[in-house]
Symmetry: C2
Subunit: 405 residues, 2 copies
Amino acid sequence: MDAEVVAVGSELLLGQIVDTNSATIGRHFAEIGLNLFYKTTVGDNLGRVTACLRQALGRSDVVLTTGGIGPTEDDITREAVAGATDRELVFHEDLWQKIQAFFESRGVKASESNRRQAWIPAGAIIVENPVGTAPAFILEHRGRTVITLPGVPREMEYLLRSRVLPYLRERYGIKGEIRLRVLKVVGLGESRVGERIADFMVKAGNPTVGTLAHLGQVDVRIAAKADDRAAAERLIAPIEAEIRTRLGDAVFGADAETLESVIAGRLGTPGGRVALVEVGTAGTATERLAAAVPESLAAGLVAASPRGLDALGVDFGAIDGPLERATAAASAVARWAGVDVGAAVWLEDLPGSAPPIVRAAVAVSVRGRPAGHEHRVGGDRASVRIRAATLLLDEIRRALPGAGS
Amino acid sequence: MDAEVVAVGSELLLGQIVDTNSATIGRHFAEIGLNLFYKTTVGDNLGRVTACLRQALGRSDVVLTTGGIGPTEDDITREAVAGATDRELVFHEDLWQKIQAFFESRGVKASESNRRQAWIPAGAIIVENPVGTAPAFILEHRGRTVITLPGVPREMEYLLRSRVLPYLRERYGIKGEIRLRVLKVVGLGESRVGERIADFMVKAGNPTVGTLAHLGQVDVRIAAKADDRAAAERLIAPIEAEIRTRLGDAVFGADAETLESVIAGRLGTPGGRVALVEVGTAGTATERLAAAVPESLAAGLVAASPRGLDALGVDFGAIDGPLERATAAASAVARWAGVDVGAAVWLEDLPGSAPPIVRAAVAVSVRGRPAGHEHRVGGDRASVRIRAATLLLDEIRRALPGAGS
């Protein structure tokens, strides 16, 4: 089955916002085996949007539009879909009631312009939108399916997952189930990971295995297609076990797990908390823990230079080398915050290196026993900060006993 | 003049990467007055890319392709452009020499597959790529212009700015200059800003005035078109002055200025530094200062709860209300870090509010004199953190005397 996306919105063409919807749609379509062949972005112009839709209907089974179903004069996707499928727009009084109720629940009155949103092409199936005001719809037209979703990414993805994908599965008899297992790897680069599991990374396999590199982290994606979920899981299990064996403790988790969630689990709740010192990373590791697992963070002390750390009572000027400084800081911050686990990342430029290389020392102190490592990290400042923060979080993970140990 | 973009790459359709190039191109084209009407994304398939290009050449004056000019078998944009314009590919020995030299300068040998990159459609103007290996090219075809650029965003933007825009100006006799002034506003919502300057926000004006909302911040964009830069600046000046008057000190800067850079300027260098306490914001304000103006940050103390602040020696449990706590924390952290300026943001949930509303208190202490404000902030956690951090940075800006005062 072929699919394509028509993204409507002059703001996308003017570069005022980056379109993330299409990537989301591409991923979800791939998971049910729909091939996305084209994506067209077009401005808020009725003639051009209609022409794009007519072309799309001439070559694809499924045409999904995003954007252009808000309440303003610029929102012309409803008219364009009606035009491209030679239908009238029909006013739905019940929909208008629901739109008004949505606003009332937020203590606001719907404006008269919201009434536009209750006009839907004749024969369309209305997809109610509990997360926003714009009603979406699905239209069957001469054996093709047109799906019209809002442009707001959160609303679009919600409706895609909860309404559109189930509809398409039913409509096109998509029986197979694609299951995905993502192993999270840190401490090995993408090419090293690739070398170790090269025999699994063949194009036509089932499961297929692929890697995706992030800064300081690699995902190994194992995707299996089978008649049902259990059968797909059975295909994944032996491959996953073998890959875990080959990559060893570089695999820190799977699927929704993050370094932050693994650390929180190992610190234990209630009560287990870590205190951090960051010099040169702009507090990136602290930010990640504070945002994801605030209950596990005692405090983070962020400084651009050792002068900011005077209150720790350590004379860092008398200590040579970033690893020695990080180690001292990890112990000191644990004492300072009154917790069992302290950790520190300390960046220093390696003099004379071009392109610039940074010495990134990370250290963790558990109940007064500190240990750490020094790494070399290259790249622009922002990437170095993210990589070094990941190295610190990984050092904390490795310093804490896991469930299996 | 009409333009369109054809972005080539299956990875874009599979959602493995988000296409930021099109937004960049849209912005740059808008600045020289080129109207971007369509953007089509298509996978690495020769037939489909060729068909997209034929269609584009049938309706647009300028067709710009991104991606698909690397060294692998998947890279078929060169062939597609040749096919859509009925030309042969021609091998350029001199280009092949240059590609080899590029690799040698990095201590690597060009691989035989890089040879593919020296095949260019007959009659094309070669655009050398000093920032990468993929040679780009421009082709004039029956009164239309085809521009083929690499997909790597850094390379694409470099070639667009340095080679393509000057070429298009010359080719199409684009004389006018569009100048942009962006006023940065904080402390007034987009609708309030819009109300105050509504008379400037008419569609057909010159300059045109528009607003763009970010979390906690609004940009007012004044764009003027004139024969040259000086004339455009003269059109902008009176409008800018009037808008600054109406918005008052909510305007904190213009163009490349940020809250961080304005704070650094007001703290003065060398020596002026601020120390921060953040409770509930995951260190977002600290991160922004540390990343942008590290020399101005003494230290940031980030805690998820008051327990992390014991070392400040303040009994926060005995202090009622977030504003009072933030005020005490601002003074305490300045003493603790030994600097003149301390600042604090303190978030507390407003009990029983649905949707949840957060009380965000921000306070700044300058040489022992603290002052602050309490705000109400709604939205998801991540937005609340960003908004509250912006409120803190703005409070710091307002507490420090500006150049004009």
